[in-house]
Subunit: 150 residues, 2 copies
Amino acid sequence: MTLIFAAPSNDKGELETGSAFTPRFDEKGLVTAVVTDARDGELLMVAHMNAEALALTIETGIAHYYSRSRNSLWKKGESSGNVQTVQEIRTDCDQDAIWLKVTVAGHDATCHTGRRSCFYRTVGIENGQAAVTITDDRRHFDPAHIYAEK
Amino acid sequence: MTLIFAAPSNDKGELETGSAFTPRFDEKGLVTAVVTDARDGELLMVAHMNAEALALTIETGIAHYYSRSRNSLWKKGESSGNVQTVQEIRTDCDQDAIWLKVTVAGHDATCHTGRRSCFYRTVGIENGQAAVTITDDRRHFDPAHIYAEK
């Protein structure tokens, strides 16, 4: 049985202080999901969820997303083993974003590049140009090996 | 002088490991911005940035966003005084999300409801329905007072 989400109220107060969880999916039927490590709060990834992914995540306690590139439901870690067990789910004032605090199984890595977090680079200005610098280059797994069958 | 962002490479490797910051704005010209408190990593808000907001944020060190409801540039804290000073900017593997670690001035509050974080509610199931529970109800300011002139 899959959880059904009621339509969001037009009343801002109800959305902000009511007891119903009525996610505001965008015109593509998605909400933004921010994923942090329950262990230390590190930001691991930003992804998207449709109603099915969100319901499955709440019901099973295992993070599911919607892959915009593959246009399909995506159980995170299905290929890599880096499954995310959800410790807590939060939503924001206008209910269009979800925050998952997770525990990562497998290689303790979330990024498909093998790094712990997708946010492994800092942004700055170098010689007048917007530039990135890699601040975490430790690979927890070898993507060529893990995703070889794809 | 405003920073100009080059178009993202079609080469995935270049996007993931190159030295250029080439944000992948969506069809509306926006990237997702995740904002955490540099002090303790608490997730404060999720917002969006267009190229102007992103360039201003990098150049000035003060967080600027694009308000989708007002369709305009938004210097966070302009009304409330809760200006965000950026300590670090990161981007993710495919460069379509930005992570800002900030220090919040004023009331040390980010949510327009007066709470520290927009994510003041947990999500769960109650009597078979998706429900939210307020887990942080401390108000750092009175919205009716702060936004009275609006």
